[in-house]
Structure formats: C-alpha cells, structure tokens
C-alpha cells in the first residue's frame, strides 16, 4: 500500500479553484520533489494535506496508509505521522520551546494510545536529539521561534521532525529565507532523518535545494496540476529551461 495517495484533488479557496484534479503517489522511504512556479498550487497542496482551515476540497481524496486523511483533524493527522515543515514557522511568545515540544509529543502519543513521556525521560530524549542536530540548549528555553533567525526556525522544524518521528515529512519551501550555510545545515538534518520507513516530499521553487536533498522522483506542478514527473535529472532540465514550457502544457 502506498504511504500517501492523492487522487484527483480539487481545492477551492474563496470561490477560486487552486488545484484542478491533482494526483500524486508517495511510497515509504521515497524522496519526492515538487517543483513549480509561484502560484502553481504547491503550498496549497501541503496545507491541504496538513489540514489547514480555509481550503475547500470539492473533489478527489487523500489517503494515508489507505485511511481518508480529509476526515481527520490536523492533530489526528499529526498523530498518524504526517508532518508539515512550515515555510514560515510562527513565533509563539510565552510558550517555551521545551514546553511546546513536550506537550505536542505527549499529545501525539496519547492520541495513538501510547504512554506519555515523563519529564525526565522527555528531557533525556530532547537532549539527545538536539545534540545530534547541533541545537544549543538555550534555544529550547526561549519562546517558540521567538527571536530565532531564519536558519534557527528551520532547525527547530527539523528538531520537531526528529522528535515526533513522522512517517511523511512535507517540507514547504524549506530554502526560503536561508543563506547557503543555513540551507546546508537544515538539509543535513533532513538527510539524517531519511530512512526506508520515512518518506519526504520536498516542495521548492528552486533546484538548488535538490543539490542537498537528492530526490527519487521530481514532479513539475503548473496551474494546479502535476504536468510532468521524472527522475532527479528533471530538476536539472528545469534549471536550464525554466517553467515556461510547462505552463503551456497545463
């Protein structure tokens, strides 16, 4: 069974159709890149998979391990193993990163019927994970993303990915706002988390991210549809010729 199956997905935002029957299949362990020009619907797809309000699905379905994802609340999707790394992670003043991580992890475990982490066990785990990602402890004491640089915010997303151990990670424009060093650090973190059981969907406008995270499959999106899929060489082709050819195809 595929990990993620998007079938004929049509999505509207305030009367305007953004996705016009999108189909996508992701299997365990695969890395998929979704590329496309601005406004092609890449971020909409990631938001709809994660359950963000404000989108109306008018047709099609999204199955996760065969279960209807669209029937689940966002927190239930997270507990099932769907993780969206946000393009712009929000700042939450007054909620310490540590408290947030523990609350979220235990909420997911509770929803799955697993035992919640005790405080010492949680601290041990978070220390291990943050050490492996070179995340300083004092970052964990600050409010969630408050005063973090762009690179720190993305590393915090990677830290959550490592801690929550999702089976599907969707990285929405992970490279936006990052310089090349910050990008490399974040990409290294993502690569370290890739495993035969965990799939990644990398959404990006630019090819450069794919120098660091090498995809198995590349999809080109244009005007709310996947217009071409291929191997990693497709990304290089796009880099050379641009998206214009596909805009006609759509």
């Amino acid at each position: 069974m595929a990990l993620l199956e998007v079938k004929g997905l049509k999505v509207r935002v305030e009367e305007r159709e953004i996705l016009h029957g999108l189909t996508l299949t992701v299997n365990e362990g695969e890395i998929h890149a979704i590329m496309g020009p601005n406004g092609s619907g890449k971020s909409t797809l990631s938001h709809v998979i994660a359950g963000k309000p404000g989108y109306e699905v008018t047709d099609g379905e999204i199955l996760f391990r065969g279960e209807d994802l669209l029937d689940m609340s966002p927190d239930m999707r997270a507990a099932k193993g769907v993780f969206l790394a946000f393009q712009y992670p929000v700042e939450i003043p007054g909620v310490s990163t540590m408290n947030f991580l523990r609350t979220a992890l235990n909420a997911q475990r509770k929803a799955r019927g697993e035992s919640e982490y005790s405080t010492p066990d949680f601290l041990k785990k978070v220390r291990e994970v943050s050490k492996s990602l070179n995340i300083p402890q004092d970052m964990l004491k600050r409010g969630v993303n408050v005063g973090f640089s762009g690179g720190e915010k993305k590393r915090n997303e990677v830290l959550q990915m490592a801690l929550f151990e999702p089976s599907l990670c969707i990285l929405d424009e992970m490279d936006s706002g990052l310089d090349i060093d910050a990008l490399r650090i974040a990409a290294d973190g993502v690569n370290a988390l890739h495993s035969p059981k965990r799939a990644m969907v990398v959404i990006t406008h630019y090819q450069r991210l794919l120098n660091y995270i090498v995809p198995d499959v590349v999809h080109v999106m244009s005007k709310g549809r996947v217009v071409k899929s291929g191997g990693k060489e497709l990304a290089l082709e796009l880099e050379a010729s641009g998206y214009t050819q596909f805009e006609d195809a759509a």
Binding site: A50, G51, K52, P53, S73, P74, D75, R77, A78, A79, L84, F86, P89, V90, I92, P93, G94, V95, N99, F100, T103, A104, L105, A107, Q108, A111, G143, Q160, F164
Partner: protein, 434 residues
C-alpha cells in the same frame, strides 16, 4: 436618579437584614451608631445600578438583585469544611490569616508565626475601642453597606524596616450558602518595609453566596510591597470588594489581581500616590466563562510629582461572559513629571463574549506623560494551526495560547511558591472550559 427606586421591596429586604443582624455586629454603642448612619446612607442610595456613571456596566440591581442575609457564625462543621478549603488553597510558606463567613478563625490562622514585626488584631477587637476603621471618605453605596455590616477582618501593622521573609495570606472562606459575609481589613505597612500580602477568596462547598469586602491600605516611604488578590469564589457567588490604598514616597508597589470565579464580581480601588518618587505597577487578569461578569474599576490618583504608574489588564472571556475595565488616571495640578500608562488586552474566545473598556485621563498638570491603549481579538488562527499541526487537539492548543497570554502577567510575580499557586488557579480555570 429617582429615590423611589431605592425604596422597592429590595430596599426593605436590606432594612430587615440590618435589623436582624444588629445584635451580632461588633462594636460599642457609639460604633453601632456609626453603623446605623452608614446603613441609612446605603438605604437612601440602594444597590448601585446602571444610571450611576461608575456602575454603568455593572448594574448590581439587575445582576445580584438583593443583598443576602448575614451568614451565621460558623459552627464546628463549617469550620471543619473551611479547614479543608484552607488546606487546598494555602500557599506554601505563607502565614495564613483565615476569615470564615466573615469571622476570623484563630484556630485556622498562623498568628504566632507572624513574628514580632507584624502587629495583628481583628477588626472586631478594634471596634471595641472606636469606629475609625468604619469611616472612609467615599460616598459609594456598597462601601456604606460594608461599614454598616462588617463583622470582622484583619488589622495588620507591619513595623518600619521589617523585611518579611514569608508572604502573609489572608484567606476568605465561604461555607454558608445563600448568605453574605461582610469583612473589612486594614493593612499598614511601615517605612522601609518589605512585604508580600495576598488575599484569597475561596469556597468550601458553599453556593450562591455573597462576599462584601473592603480593604484599607497605607504604605510608608521607601517600602517595597506586593499586594496580590486572588478571587476564586464559587461560580454562582458574588464578590464586591473596595480597596483604598495610600502610597508614600520612593516606594515600590506591585499589585496583581486575578479573577477566576464568581458569577458577578466587582473590584473597585482608589490608589493615591501621596509621596514623590514612587512606582506603582498593577497587573490584572480576568478569567471569565459561562455568563460571568467581572468588573475592575480603578482610580490611580497622582497627587504629587515624579511618580510612575503602569496598569496592564488582561481579560480572557469565553462563552457569554462580560469583562469590564474602567481605569481613571488623575494627575493633580502639582503632580508634574507624572508618568502614567494603562493598557487593556482582551482575548475573546467566543462571538458572544463581551469586553467593555473605559479609560479616563484627568490631567491638571502640564509636564506629564500619560496614555492608554487597548487591544481586543480572538486567538491567532495561524498559531492555533501550527500547534494543531504538531498534534495538539483544539482545546489544548487554545489552552497553551491562553496560558501564554496570561503568563506574561503571572511571570512578574516574584515569589516562586505564589507564582506556582497562581499558575495552578489559571490551569484549573482552563480545565473547567473543557
């Protein structure tokens, strides 16, 4: 306003109440005469209603209807229940002074532990000598009613230079249903003293009761004082409290007031900055749900130059609850270089929640910096979605953001045990939302 309104059936009920309570009210015949005069003032005015400007958002005639009869002296069973409540609400390390249904209980209190630097009497004891504590300059009806009916209270006098290592916690416990407790207390804090004084209002299984409290506070020069009020009364209770505070020179005062209970509550305060170079900080938190009505009405009077006042009010309002904040800053003609600011922030958790906000600046000096601001809004949808996308169910995501909103005020409490205690009260309020 027409006088006839005050002479309704409700007015009669109060009259009967005073007559039936008179035999139990402490004080010499001279004191009783002062009480009777105060009662006549109250009877003339009746319960405040919306046509009295200071009470326009909190019409007590509509909200509570009538003043309930004086609670009986607590019997052994009531004291036993009160002891349980005290145990549950005592702050670790604090010295407790307990009033049960408006009557001081020595057995439940830590009078001996107060030490030699803290003078203690009950209101009842002072009224054996004179009626001084029943007299205030105010003409407000509920203050007159309190003077007429007050059965007891704590009279604390903290010596000059005293550095209290432990907070003092005055706990008002209600055990009697459908009855009123009337208390009046005085806190005198000497020059150069350092103290934290907390007033807690809690219920011991009591329902539909009323609390009528008044507190007279005077703080000397060069003092450093935290005054905390935690009103966590039963959800169907009413709490009407009046505070009069006078602050000396070069003194720091931090107020923290939290409302997390009672169907109807009003905290009204007059804080006078009477000495130069003092700093006043007031943090208020209203946590309201169901149809609760919580009113905070404060006047900060800058009577002298060079003082700073900061007021920040946060309200979390759910369901059909109603939060009121009226803040007035007065700057007297001599009070140059006054720096007075107030801010109100309302978090509306439902479409039917209501926040009324009335800031007033009365400035008679020309070289001052004063201002007020207000924000009101719902929880940020983007923050909520981020938390939900990380696995937090809706209510839990909301709770975390509400805690953060309230936490900004709570974090300013210096005493660790007290801060934990307040966090616990806020957490229990959040649990009641589920």
């Amino acid at each position: 306003m027409n006088v006839a309104v005050a002479k309704t059936g409700k007015g009669r009920a109060v009259s009967d109440l005073f007559a039936s309570a008179e035999g139990r009210l402490p004080g010499s015949p001279a004191v009783i005469a002062v009480r009777r005069e105060a009662f006549e003032t109250y009877e003339r005015l009746g319960l405040p209603h919306r046509r009295i400007e200071e009470w326009k958002y909190t019409d007590l005639r509509a909200l509570v209807g009538e003043v309930l009869p004086l609670a009986a002296n607590p019997d052994a069973a009531a004291l036993k229940r009160a002891a349980e409540a005290v145990k549950a609400h005592a702050i670790a390390g604090a010295r407790k002074l307990v009033l049960v249904d408006g009557v001081f209980s020595a057995d439940l209190s830590d009078v001996k532990a107060l030490g030699s630097e803290v003078g203690f009497k009950t209101l009842r004891e002072t009224l054996e000598m004179d009626a001084g504590l029943l007299k205030t300059a105010s003409t407000d009806a509920v203050i007159a009613l309190n003077a007429a009916m007050a059965t007891d209270g704590v009279v604390l006098s903290i010596a000059d230079g005293a550095q209290l290592s432990a907070p003092v916690q005055i706990i008002h416990v209600a055990t009697a249903a459908s009855a009123s407790a009337f208390t009046r207390s005085q806190l005198r804090i000497g020059k150069g003293a350092r103290a934290t004084i907390i007033e807690s209002f809690v219920a011991a299984d009591a329902k539909a009761y009323q609390v009528h409290d008044a507190v007279l506070v005077s703080i000397g020069d060069n003092a450093d004082v935290a005054l905390v009020r935690l009103m966590d009364d039963a959800p169907d209770a009413a709490n009407i409290t009046s505070q009069f505070v006078t602050v000396g020179a070069n003194t720091k005062v931090n107020f923290f007031n939290m409302t997390s209970g009672a169907a109807v509550s009003r905290l009204q305060g007059l804080i006078t900055l009477a000495g130069e170079g003092s700093e006043l900080s007031i943090n208020g938190v209203n946590l309201l749900q169901k149809t609760e009505h919580g009113d905070t009405t404060l006047v900060v009077d800058h009577a002298v130059p060079n003082c700073i006042s900061r007021e920040v009010f946060r309200a979390v309002i759910d369901d059909r609850a109603h939060s009121v904040f009226q803040g007035r800053i007065i700057v007297r003609p001599d009070a140059q270089k006054t720096d007075g600011k107030m801010m109100t922030r309302a978090l509306l958790l439902s479409d039917e929640a209501e926040a009324d906000n009335k800031p007033e600046l009365e400035i008679f000096a020309d070289d001052v910096s004063c201002g007020h601001g207000a924000t009101a809004g719902a929880l940020d949808e983007n923050l909520l979605f981020y938390l939900k996308a990380r696995g937090l169910p809706e209510k839990q995501a909301q709770a975390l953001l509400i805690q953060a909103f309230v936490g900004e005020a709570i974090e300013q409490i210096a005493d660790d045990n007290l801060r934990e205690h307040v966090i616990g009260i806020a957490a229990r309020w959040l649990e009641r939302r589920q």
